[in-house]
Subunit: 655 residues, 2 copies
């Protein structure tokens, strides 16, 4: 690393918030381009039967945005390599790969422009997620972790493959029916006709996606055949798949704890280095009689110029001042930084003080938690009233419904919510009210509800019996009423923090979301790469029935086929549609329908793509996600148990 003054200035500039934000925005922008580029996703539906012609961006529009993004990346890589220095640069595979990807992208971009955007293949689209990956150190770390668990995962996958092969052979030997029109023979014809089909059937059974169907013909003939399928599922799906989970979790065990310790260690190291620098400065200026140490005045000057959390800065500065003119020793210096670890207890603004005793008792009443409970109860009542009307209206045609009573009820409830908002603001003061995040959520929804209700009343007048929906303006009355009701449903979520256990679980989930940015990033990368690959492989393969398509007409399609189930929207014709298709394959249910349809439309090799996607997404990523949840929950649990045991209340588990 370079250490001279200009490099330091560049270093500060590069790691300033503005620069980092610009970089993140650029990455976001270049990834977003996939939705707009030539197979653009700007149609209301992805269904090949109803889809209108998508908007085709003029040549040069997306390309110019891309060029801007690539220029930012060029600046990024040059600054980074300058700061790191040539010797380090040669050794850093990530930086080298960054450079290579940029060169390839720029070359591809020039080819693209020179062919007037009519080129058959855009390689640079495949490389775009790399920019996201190289920008996050967490993602690199996670990737390293995954790579280190590959050998064990490979052994389990090998065992799975062996299991699959052995059972395929057994199955094919078992279901070589000799008589026609026999259950055994039907099983053979449907699922074990030849080796690839038998393998596919059992691979799908491994994901349990064709569970009762695959055994039905044989099991209808004889009970004993069920044993074959049950043993297969037990070994494959329960033992081996869960073993894979265990292996992945094993690698991530202590992951959070270690990263926590590493960051603590780094901060200690930084503080110590700062201490050395400051103490050498203070001794250089004057020979201090009282040994080596940091002069609090120097430290305060540094603190003034440093960016810190607005809550913690004054606390630390006050502490430093309390030392007076004494030099700070290394230990005292370290202790100052412990302030960062202390959870800041946010101070609520003081409540407004009223003089009149009536106002005071009203304030006590409306700031009491029972008043919150009453609000929850009323939200529940509102929800119940909506669901009662939903149940009553379920069998009435939408045109014949009468919304008079529900309209009145909603009006009353919304009035109560507004009243509650005002009373709470009166009791806690406006700033006090806004200091609770739950109140902000409530207040926002109340305001939205009020606006919606007022506009409803303005357009359609006050509800009267036989109130009928009319189409006026942008939204019909019905849409308006539905919107109002939906916001009430969201308002109901405020009861969650009132229940202790649910609050714990909900807070775990919130923590999880914070910790899973790296995992989310990997998911984005994987989805992006596979979606682009899928578009290149299968674009235009699914053709609407009736227009010279390979697909038979809907009425004649066999049950359970792509055509009968009307999965027409699950295609790879644009980026958004590809994402949804990949999601549906990742969820695994009915993926044999996709396998079969793309085999027919595109060829037998399409199976490779789907099986690879299944392995990457459903087998590896979902297990990673489970490992992350386990790690987060256990980390949180252990910390809580530790705190409880400190409070002298040990929690004994079963033994």
């Amino acid at each position: 690393h370079r250490m001279d003054a200009r490099s330091m200035w560049l270093y500060r500039l590069y790691y300033s918030n503005t620069c980092q934000w610009t970089l993140s925005l650029t990455i976001f922008l270049i990834l977003l381009l996939a939705f707009i580029e030539t197979p653009s996703s700007l149609t209301s539906t992805a269904d090949v039967r109803f889809r209108s012609a998508p908007w085709d961006p003029p040549c040069g529009l997306t390309e110019s945005v891309e060029a801007l993004c690539l220029l930012v990346f060029v600046a990024d890589v040059s600054v980074k390599s300058y700061l790191v220095g040539w010797a380090q640069f040669r050794k850093n595979p990530w930086l080298l790969a960054y450079l290579a990807v940029l060169v390839v992208s720029l070359a591809d971009w020039i080819v693209s422009l020179s062919l007037l955007c009519q080129e058959p293949l855009r390689i640079r689209r495949l490389f775009r997620p790399f920019f996201l990956m190289q920008n996050s150190s967490m993602m690199k770390k996670t990737l390293k972790c995954i790579r280190s668990s590959l050998p064990e995962m490979a052994s389990v996958v090998l065992l799975l493959a062996l299991h699959l092969c052995v059972f395929t052979m057994l199955g094919m030997l078992l279901f070589t029916g000799e008589k026609q029109d026999d259950g055994q023979d039907r099983e053979r014809l449907t699922y074990f006709r030849n080796l690839p089909e038998a393998l596919t059937s059992l691979l799908v059974l491994l994901t349990t996606a064709n569970n009762p169907d695959v055994m039905t013909p044989a099991y209808s003939k004889n009970r004993a055949y069920a044993i074959f399928f049950i043993v297969f599922t037990l070994i494959g799906s329960l033992f081996l798949m869960n073993l894979l989970t265990a292996i992945i979790y094993n690698q991530f065990r202590g992951y959070l704890m270690k990263s926590f310790q590493t960051s603590l260690f780094r901060r200690r190291l930084g503080a110590r280095a700062a201490y050395e620098v400051l103490s050498s400065m203070s001794t250089r200026g004057e020979a201090h009689p009282r040994g080596v140490g940091v002069d609090p005045q120097d430290f305060l000057q540094v603190l003034q110029r440093v960016q810190l959390d607005s809550h913690q800065k004054p606390v630390i500065m006050e502490k430093v001042r309390s030392y007076g003119g004494d030099l700070l020793s290394a230990e005292e210096f370290q202790k100052l930084f412990n302030e960062f670890d202390k959870r800041v207890i946010k101070e609520r603004p003081p409540r407004p003080e009223y003089r009149s005793p009536f106002l005071r008792s009203a304030q006590f009443l409306f700031s009491h938690r029972y008043f919150d409970y009453l609000g929850n109860l009323i939200a529940l009542g509102n929800l119940v009233s909506i669901s009662v009307f939903l149940v009553f209206d379920a069998d009435v045609l939408p045109g014949d419904r009468d919304d008079f009573v529900l309209g009145i009820l909603n009006c009353v409830f919304i009035l109560y919510y507004v009243l509650e908002l005002l009373l709470k603001a009166f009791a806690l003061g406006l700033r006090g009210y806004l200091s609770y995040s739950s109140n902000v959520f409530d207040g926002l929804l109340t305001v939205v509800l009020l606006v919606l209700e007022i506009s409803t009343l303005a357009v359609y007048r006050f509800p009267h019996p036989g109130w009928k929906p009319e189409m006026l303006g942008l939204l019909s009355l019905w849409d308006m009423a539905r919107l109002v009701n939906m916001f009430i449903v969201f308002r109901f979520l405020r009861i969650i923090p009132s229940m202790k256990l649910m609050a714990l679980v909900a807070s775990t989930i919130l923590d999880l979301i914070k910790n899973m940015r790296a995992f989310g990033g990997i998911l984005v990368v994987v989805y992006y790469v596979f979606a682009i690959l899928g578009i290149n492989l299968f674009r235009g393969v699914v053709v609407a029935p009736g227009n010279g398509s390979l697909a038979p007409d809907n009425s004649s399609a066999p049950c359970g086929s792509f055509e009968q189930l009307e999965y027409w929207a699950n295609n790879f014709d644009d980026f958004a549609a590809a994402l949804i298709t990949l999601w549906n394959v990742m969820v695994v249910n009915n993926w044999q329908v996709f396998l079969d349809a793309y085999r027919r439309f595109s060829g037998p090799w399409s199976k490779m793509y789907f099986v690879l996607w299944w392995l990457v997404s459903s087998v590896i990523w979902v297990n990673l996600f489970l490992a992350l949840i386990l790690e987060n929950f256990l980390h949180k649990w252990d910390r809580r148990a530790h705190l409880q045991s400190l409070a002298g209340d040990p929690d004994t588990c079963c033994q």
Copy 2:
């Protein structure tokens, strides 16, 4: 506990192997009765269309077996309660429940006989799994563990229910299509018609069993509707369900370690108590000059009479003798018992020694591990030849196949296996050969293959071109050939221990099977109770089409319904069929078909049964199983890492 001589004698008798085996056998027998009792499972198929009338056991046959079993249990409970004593008996809920269950069972049995086995309901069948449960202390412990994790599980389940309710309301508000023949309206009519149907649709979506179908009508209309379903699945299926796994695993963490420590502690306590008894005995006999301690002679006498592992007993006795006539101190006494922890390295019997140098070099050759590898290679070649023939024969009708070449090849391979068996037995000696369990497995399969091949040759003569299958005796030639080939597939499994990583994974699975008896027992209990309940609720509800059944004819049934998918064998008409039906619901895929069919055949309340079974089996038990696998794997991994770090080879994980 009673301590007098007669009680001790009874105690020994009760815990003798014979008594415990009798008890286990009785439990097994009474559980097995469910297959034979009146809705007996002794038909070749469970399909209501093809099923013959089941065998009806005469009244008194199963009842007399049951009476015998119950008498054994009466003896068991009386011995147990006598040994425990009245004071303890009153405090022990398991013993009290045992007594109550026995009384109810006997009363029900008398009622049953007095009604000549025509009683409408047999309560005692529901209670039978209790006998299994109370006999296993591990199962009681596991049950306790599950019970202690119920509060947290309840909170997650509550959150799940809230999530389901909120999204059901949102969905119903979203899909109240105003126009006919609109995607929104089709969604409403198919999945969100009324509150119960919407709830069911989303509950099934929580298990991902109707994933692309439920979103298809709306998603075909507009892409944005997919977000609703994806968010629902993300929160419900990925976050909340995995959180449930984390909570269950959290309870079982350290489960194995703790039970291991407890058993070690108990053994130490027992050894210490034995030391006290023995030392008091030796001091009582004569005032020993050298202080307190155990006389080795006394100890040897005791050891002679104690049942111990045949390998460990001589080792300990030799150690005791090495102390000579000195008294054993408490520490020395404890050390003796450490012998139990040492893994016994099984001594192989010595190889036979041959005089002739030719025989010696042959012995070296055939006992070398490369000879094993050759055998594996040849088994692989055999497997490949079979699969090649399977691929070639796939499109040929079974009647037209020619098995000449495969028959010859199989003959040659089997001859090689026999030769290998003989050569290995020659090189290692017969006892040495049998001391390897892999050899026993190989040898057994070889013998079976040889017998099958000889009988094939005897019945059908030597294969000649145009060899055709004939039906002679019990098995046709085809069945025989299939059996031979299947055994060869099993023989192929011997390659697993040759691959290091796969051997680790396979040994984890084997360890797991040892540790999961308690979990398997709970699974048996749960399946038994639900199967009996299901038989009582749904017996005879599924009626074959055409015989006045509620079900429409197959050709007119809509796609994806019970009738179209021909799930006729999935009924509750007998115990075996009920087990398979429950398995299919536990695997979760397509369970909406069962929900829908039983709603139509039996009434809307049947959903409760299936949802409850889903919760118990798929949500709780499968997660328990995953927790067990995690626990086992991590336990094994940590022990291995510990051993490796002792060997000075620390394994660093990612950080």
